[in-house]
Amino acid sequence: MPLLQAILDGLMLGGVYAVISIGLTLVFGVISIVNFAQAQFLMVGMYVAYFAWHFLGLDPIFGSVISFIVVFLLGYGVQHLLIRRVLKAPEVAQIFLTVGLLIVLENLALILVGSEFKSVQTWSQNESLEFAGLIISMPYAIAFLASGVAGVMVWWLLAKTWWGRTVRATAQDPMAAKLMGIDPEKIYRMSFGLGVALTAFGGAVILPYLTVSPSVGEQFGVLMFTVVVLGGLGNVLGAVVGGLAVGVIQSLSGLFLPLQLQNMVLFIVFILTLAFRPEGLLRNKS
């Protein structure tokens, strides 16, 4: 029973990891840039949802839509103003830019909203679902469902729509896409926006069971990279599998080992993946 409970908890957790990591993997897959500041967009998303709750009384589950829109616009602008300029530059320049962005976002948040931990109060926070002796915490369940819906929508967008086809075409071969009348610059802006907005959305839906502070991204940065590396960088389906796997690994290791070793187990898996299967658990590009 504890085993089943741990797996269930892990899946709930992993669903959210999946959706925040889809954003990261999307940005890499389409634009071929590793965005080290991705987790800081999660932080921005959490703050937007927090203020939507604070000033408008919106439950973060609805606030997440606002987070999505705001961060989409932010990402759109960042791509246009900053990332675009380093696409052809050496990788080191790209790393410097996104790491710089990370530092700027974190410190901007410190200046603008202060370093206090902020937390919302919602009806779901102290509720749980119970069946057959298993307990699912309500905020986790809601976050999982919301992530599921978002994940399906992204899949539909990329796999079933014309726009998705242009995105995939650009990811495969920007030059050929351009010859077919697709404007890669536009696709890049949209994809970067979508990528960071998804992560921000994930941040908003987990707000009820976490607290937000300018440095909250640090808790998620490494985690997100573990997820996408497990699933294969640039692979959206891989991010889903990776996310769920990471959630379950974390949860299970908490069951068998001291909690302090939770992340160590995760990083051992991370290193092993890099060593033996650097292309990720799933080989195919989606």
């Binding site: 741990a6 931990f117 915490s137 309500m138 607290t211 440095s215 069951l255």
Partner: protein, 411 residues
């Protein structure tokens, strides 16, 4: 990859600035007056190192407010009496929440800002790092951090106004047992603690007290500071069938733990280990769910409301214990400087060690006075048990300090 701007605000007072301007204009008029002849008021630099960003920022901010309150009041009332009205200049630095930064910042405050003493840094792990620097430089460090190591290493320049972590941990267990009707009524307890210096030393005290009372510890689990998912912890707790849970946490983790307990309808008494369980944000984030939560604490604002209400008036929140204790730290420093009529580090250290402080903010501490022993520990400090009652913290145990009756929570 954290931001790194340790010296956040050099606290310059309005009057000080005006005086400095006067001094400047005087210099302009007189042309070539030698520097020493300038009528500049003397100031005494006091270094304040606190975690103003990162995981422990909230505590750093509360602490800073306590210190600012005292400094502003003293300066407004004519400055340091023992030094001819010299003003206190707080040099406030952000240690972030990492010990390395704390040590670097301490170096800078002593070498560049010539601080006569250092106050801080709330979190034991930070204070320990700072104490290595202050000890080497012979600068007094006055702290309210709990770790036993602070005054347990034979250092000559560390002063701990609060009880030690192990004493607090023991009291956390013993008071809880007394409140539940004696150790005979308690068979199984659980200890959860964050794994830095603070949590570890408090947990050691808890463990020892439980062993002495022959109470079984059915769960004894460390978790990393900055934990984002406590579900495995709470699952284990539920399976352990503990009757009382003793979590020792900072803010973020305390919220996660209490929420997870409420979600799973685990209604055993929660007896927190200070820090996260006793600050206004705890109740702000949990609302009614905070009611009834007990915590051990090293001071509480209801012990002497004369001083602490001034804080409430200015900052619009009750004076949380770290604010009280940092106010106390600055006040004993000021009293020592006044008594020694000197701001030299060795004079301050000597006076701190010899004096018994009974005036001013010292009254807010348990027993109303402060006296540091050879190791630098305040021998009059005793822990108290506090409880959330309608968004306020009431001291409920031991009876000699209690201000309110303990309430029980029915969920």
């Amino acid at each position: 990859m954290r931001e790194n701007n340790p010296i956040q605000t050099a606290h310059i007072h309005q009057e000080g600035r005006r005086q400095a301007l006067k001094g400047l204009s005087a210099l302009g008029l007189a042309g070539v007056l030698p520097l020493s002849a300038m009528a500049q008021p003397k100031t005494v630099n006091v270094g304040v190192i606190l975690p103003l960003s990162g995981a422990n920022a909230q505590f750093g901010i509360n602490s800073r407010q306590g210190i600012e309150l005292v400094a502003d009041e003293i300066n407004a009332a004519g400055g340091l009496k023992g030094l001819g009205g010299a003003k206190i200049n707080l040099v406030i630095a952000d240690s972030t929440s990492t010990p390395n930064n704390a040590a670097t910042v301490a170096q800078r405050l002593i070498a560049e800002n010539e601080c006569c003493a250092i106050l801080g840094a709330f979190a034991s792990s930070l204070t320990l790092a700072i104490s290595e620097v202050t000890e080497r430089r012979g600068v007094p460090l006055i702290t309210m951090s709990y770790s036993d190591q602070l005054t347990g290493r034979g250092f000559k320049n560390v002063f701990q106004v609060t009880p030690k972590g192990s004493v607090i941990g023991r009291a956390q267990f013993n008071f809880a047992a007394e409140l539940s009707g004696g150790t005979s009524k308690v068979n199984k307890v659980a200890i959860l603690f964050e794994d830095t210096a603070f949590g570890t030393s408090t947990a050691a005290g808890l463990r020892a007290a439980a062993k002495d009372a022959n109470v079984e510890i059915v769960m004894d689990e460390a978790y990393p500071l900055g934990i984002t998912d406590v579900t495995p912890l709470v699952n284990k707790l539920r399976a352990s069938k503990a009757q009382i849970v003793f979590p020792v946490s900072y803010l973020n983790d305390s919220l996660l733990i209490v929420r997870a307990l409420r979600q799973q309808k685990i209604n055993i008494p929660i007896v927190g280990g200070s820090a996260g369980y006793v600050i206004p944000d705890f109740a702000k984030a949990l609302g009614d769910y905070a009611d009834g939560v007990l915590s051990i604490c090293s001071a509480n604002y209801d012990l002497d409301t004369v001083s602490t209400e001034r804080y409430r008036k200015r900052f619009n929140a009750f004076m949380v214990h770290e604010a009280v204790e940092h106010a106390v730290s600055l006040d004993v420093l000021i009293q020592s400087i006044n008594a020694a009529k000197s701001a030299k580090t060795e004079d301050i250290t000597r006076t701190l060690r010899s004096m018994t402080f009974t005036e001013g903010w010292a009254k807010t501490m348990t027993n109303g006075k402060i006296k540091f022993d050879e190791s630098g520990l305040n021998i009059h400090a005793e822990p108290v048990m506090v409880q959330w009652q309608k968004n306020e913290l009431a001291t409920v145990w031991p009876p000699k300090f209690a201000k309110a009756k303990v309430i029980s929570r029915n969920v």
